[in-house]
């Protein structure tokens, strides 16, 4: 039987196709957007907002450290629990929800794709196992390739070809999507309880983080990779780090992108836009960061906007989590991963009563309001680091309503009036811009618009979100409620959410990239170097390392040939 759907009378926001709040019909057949349908089920979206399914560019939803976060926070799991239903498995958790809940809650917000941005290669199987248990959503994961000893060796020797061969092998072996960097050099140094700044030379390897970043950006661009390198740079979360942030942006200037996108995607930049010399004179430098992004084409960013309240922080930036734990004295988990990366996890409360936290809250919003071109900036909370993803509707309503911002500003610590530009910013996002920072732009940043995500053109995936809200609505509370629970979410042509309830929970797909490295000789030499690493230093064999096909039951493969 052919499944057909027609969504009529809706007000459509489809920025990739230049559709800005027009009454349009959307037709879906066999899971894809088509011109017309013969005998469809009809949804009347009269007076409602219709957008492509949401695309999240950066949320820690699956894998070893997410699960370590769950394990050590039963108090978080006790929040938001719901019993099993005919459709849904039982639900637990707020900032680190169980996998099923993650799928349901994203779908209720109209999202259909999420990028897990930090997959330790040695633990890649774990990430994929959790993906299997996250229903509805399509997913992908970025393997961490920046603290790897193979990468270090090739950066040191300047062997860019072998480095490209290695990242090709690694992305395939982990069934990953691109190249992720987290505190390059610094996470490895954490193996000795040390850290590294952008231009510090490593004692063990004789290279700097800047060299690693540049080399990986160049290696990434040797292929037609859908996504830029995805960088969480050095020095996250420290007062005054904005200067190193700007220096980091400069590192990849001049690298030529192999596709129409940035060369470096810099993630959760809220944590990197800090002025001051200590927590005492801490201030926002979002303006300086936004100005750089406005002037340069080789970078795109996402924000990591703070949601005030309790959350669980987790990152491959081991030393950063340790310093955070030293500040709070709360529980702390760490996991160094041999030859590759690490992870740290600690709970955190962003309190509106605290000056620093209040300023942090303004920075994530400033970045979005001060970067002029919404295609260059994506809405994230770096889930769950700056707050859980279910806070997105709060952020959306805050961006759309100056009134709401003023209300919050008046309630939180008064330092925000001196240390942040936010109180003086009048800009309000419209729905078209919201559609860009939550689906169209994020799909473009990830190179997914070519693969049916982030738009509603013919041939695109039948992923649609229908929000029960008038396009003219300006009431922040109503906006927030509408974006929290869709009227309908449609995934691959199937209605998965109706009136804010999950009505179907099909399995999602895993998107994988396969870089194709052409020079067989060089590839072989790289493999021989790699075999040595496995024989002498890894704790598993090379044959047991790659993720087997069993872990991606519904793969969607994107080939990335060598760039011309």
């Amino acid at each position: 039987m052919v499944e057909e759907l027609r969504i009529k009378n809706g007000v459509v926001y489809d920025p990739i196709n230049g559709v800005n709040g027009e009454r349009r019909e959307i037709c879906i057949r066999d899971g894809k957007i088509v011109e017309d349908v013969m005998n469809p089920k009809v949804i009347d979206a009269e007076g409602k907002v219709v957008m492509p399914g949401g695309v999240d560019v950066h949320a820690h939803i699956a894998g070893g450290k997410v699960n370590s976060g769950r394990i050590f926070r039963p108090e978080d799991e006790r929040r938001g629990r719901e019993p099993k239903t005919k459709v849904c498995r039982s639900q637990s958790g707020y900032s680190v929800p169980n996998t099923f809940t993650t799928g349901y809650r994203y779908a209720k917000m109209g999202y259909t794709f999420v990028m897990e941005p930090a997959m330790p290669p040695l633990l890649a199987r774990h990430t994929h196992e959790e993906f299997i248990d996250i229903p509805i959503l399509d997913k992908a994961a970025l393997p961490l390739i920046d603290n790897n000893w193979m990468t270090f060796d090739y950066v040191k020797s300047g062997d860019s070809e072998k480095l490209a061969a290695y990242i090709a092998w690694m992305i395939k072996a982990t069934k990953g999507y691109g190249v992720k960097l987290v505190n390059p050099g610094g996470t490895d140094a954490w193996g000795w309880a040390k850290n590294q700044g952008l231009n510090d030379e490593s004692e063990d390897w004789g290279i700097t983080p800047a060299e690693i970043i540049r080399a990986l950006a160049e290696a990434n661009e040797k292929f037609e990779m859908p996504h830029a390198i995805h960088l969480h740079q050095n020095n996250l979360g420290h007062p005054g780090n904005f200067e190193m942030t700007l220096e980091t942006y400069d590192v990849t200037e001049g690298v030529k992108a192999s596709k129409d996108r940035s060369v470096t995607h810099l993630t959760h930049q809220q944590f990197f836009s800090y002025g001051g010399t200590s927590w005492k004179d801490f201030e926002s430098q979002a303006k300086a960061i936004a100005e750089y992004v406005n002037k340069n084409e080789h970078v795109s960013i996402d924000t990591g906007t703070v949601i005030l309240g309790d959350t669980t922080t987790m990152t491959a930036d081991g030393p950063m989590e340790y310093s955070l734990y030293q500040i709070t004295g709360r529980k702390w988990t760490n996991c160094d991963v041999e030859l590759e990366t690490g992870a740290g996890i600690t709970p955190f409360l962003y309190s509106g009563k605290v000056g620093v936290h209040s300023i942090q809250w303004t920075i994530g919003l400033e970045l979005m309001l001060l970067v002029k071109d919404p295609w260059k900036v994506a809405l994230t909370t770096d889930h769950p680091n700056a707050g859980p993803f279910i806070g997105y509707p709060i952020v959306i309503s805050t961006l759309m309503s100056k009134k709401r911002r003023d209300e919050v500003l008046s309630e939180i610590h008064s330092a925000v009036y001196d240390k942040s530009e936010l109180p003086s910013i009048d800009r309000e996002y419209d729905l078209n811009e919201i559609a860009i920072i939550t689906r169209a732009g994020t799909a473009k940043i990830l190179g997914l618009q070519e693969h049916g995500k982030g738009h509603l053109g013919v041939g695109a995936d039948g992923d649609v979100a229908i929000y029960d809200i008038s396009p003219e609505e300006r009431d922040a509370g109503k906006i927030q409620r509408a974006f929290m629970n869709t009227k309908y979410t449609i995934k691959g042509g199937q209605i998965v959410v109706k009136d804010g309830e999950v009505v179907a929970a099909p399995e999602g797909r895993t998107f994988l990239v396969e870089p194709i490295f052409e020079d067989e000789e060089i590839y072989k030499e790289m493999l021989s170097d790699l075999e040595t690493k496995f024989r002498d230093y890894y704790s598993v064999t090379m044959r047991n390392y790659p993720v087997q096909d069993a872990y991606t039951p519904h793969p969607y493969v994107i080939k990335a040939p060598m760039a011309k």
Partner: protein, 434 residues
């Protein structure tokens, strides 16, 4: 005859994955290299349960898989307080179905962690845990401490592959470049190799951790002359070994989790590691017993939010060890049906808990006869994971590894059996018009 390489050992939490075996006529005939004595014994096989069985008039009678599965489903579908226990010597794929089954029937699902490293989990929930993968230890740890753990007997390849005896990038000389310290109540094969051996009085671990921690934090003056039978001088030496190391690791075993103070020992052990971290780099790791005891905890956590002892009687996941762990349930005589898979609670639970198993219908899924089969009313033999069936397991350091299928079998896999039971249960409930 064929040689199969990179075989993954389905025995202990070390999950050695570099084993070579000879296979002849669909049997492992020889273990060429890689496995320890205990692993070898498992790979070469023991006597199996030949057929599914149902107890009739007190005697187990052979039957078909279909009959056994149907009967098991009937028992579970009508149970009011079912316990689904075991899940550690099988693969994650089976665990997933088991959790779904528990959710379906409102049961309690629990794994063997509740009688080995359950207290470690409770401690981690208190304070977190600074940990690392085993390769990090191999390459960097110049001080290895085994506390209440005897790897020479329980995890025989552990020192050779991952810790004291292994060579690593920064420690190319292997044990020449490393130091070993052991804390145990008795002299063991492991303690004989140690540079420092502290023979502690039973139940005094909490005190000794406190003393080492005090020295690490600069409060040497408050440590008494002797703690738990260990002279102060030795305690200071151990603390100094930690301070002077570049990377220290403490592996702890059931000597700490099962003795007096239980989870509080582990909280203190972790706090001691954090105190060491003020001077250098440190990590601490539980020596997990079964090859996939950790895997169940991982799966159960991502699927329910909690690692073990999960009670679905309220519809959502409810977790409260001390109330919802298997020993609690059996000790209170509360559960009315037990499904036991890939474990042997009759041998490993306290006698009073075992006696309750004698009172209620018991379904067991296992490749081998064991004392629990003596109590069972339904016995369902299964394929041996890692030899006859493949799937994911999680090593003690959270590294996921896929165990291989080396030979073929007619036995159904754990995953298939539990899946079939779940289907039958759903069919029964549908019929009842739930």
């Amino acid at each position: 005859m064929t040689v199969v390489t990179d075989v993954v050992c389905p025995l202990c939490g070390s999950v050695c994955d570099d084993i070579e075996v000879e296979v002849e006529e669909n049997k492992i005939t020889k273990v060429i290299k890689g496995a320890c004595a205990v692993g070898k014994s498992k790979l070469q096989g023991h006597e199996r349960i030949k057929s599914p069985m149902i107890r009739v008039n007190g005697v187990l009678k052979e039957c078909s898989y279909d009959e056994a599965i149907k009967k098991a489903a009937e028992l579970l579908a009508k149970a009011r307080r079912p316990l689904l226990y075991g899940w550690s010597s099988t693969v994650c794929e089976a665990d997933k179905v088991g959790i779904a089954l528990a959710e379906e029937i409102g049961g309690v699902v629990d794994n063997t962690a509740s009688v080995c490293h359950g207290p470690s989990v409770l401690a981690i929930q208190d304070v977190g845990i600074p940990c690392c993968t085993l390769g990090q230890i191999k390459n960097r740890a110049d001080l290895v401490i085994y506390w209440g753990s005897n790897p020479a007997n329980a995890h025989m390849n552990h020192m050779k592959r991952y810790s004291y005896i292994s060579k690593g990038y920064f420690l190319p000389g292997g044990k020449k470049d490393k130091k070993l310290a052991v804390v145990d109540v008795r002299e063991t094969s492991t303690s004989k190799m140690a540079e420092l051996f502290a023979q502690i009085e039973p139940g005094k671990d909490f005190l000794l951790f406190s003393a080492v921690r005090a020295v690490l934090m600069g409060y040497e003056d408050i440590v008494p002359d002797e703690v738990g039978g260990i002279p102060k001088e030795k305690i200071v030496t151990l603390a100094n070994m930690i301070k002077e190391s570049r990377f220290f690791i403490t592996f702890f075993g059931m000597g700490v989790t099962q003795s007096r103070c239980r989870q509080n020992n582990i909280v203190n052990a972790i706090q001691t590691t954090r105190a060491g971290h003020l001077h250098t780099k440190g990590a601490i790791m539980p020596m997990r017993g079964h090859y996939n005891v950790n895997g169940f905890n991982q799966v159960c956590t991502w699927e329910t939010g909690y690692p073990f002892a999960v009670d679905f009687s309220r519809g959502f996941a409810w977790y409260n060890p001390g109330e919802t762990a298997s020993t609690d349930l059996l000790g209170r005589g509360e559960c009315d049906v037990a499904l036991i898979i890939a474990s042997d609670p009759a041998s490993h639970f306290p006698a009073d808990a075992v006696k309750h198993l004698a009172r209620i219908p018991v379904i067991i899924i296992d490749p081998y006869h064991n004392p629990t089969t003596e109590f069972a009313d339904i016995v369902i033999p299964s394929a041996i994971c890692g030899i006859e069936a493949e799937g994911s397991v999680y090593r003690m350091d959270n590294v996921p590894i896929r165990v291989r299928k080396v030979v073929n079998t007619d036995y159904m896999s754990d995953e298939e059996i539990v899946e079939r039971i779940l289907e039958e249960v759903r069919a029964i409930k549908e019929k009842e018009g739930e």
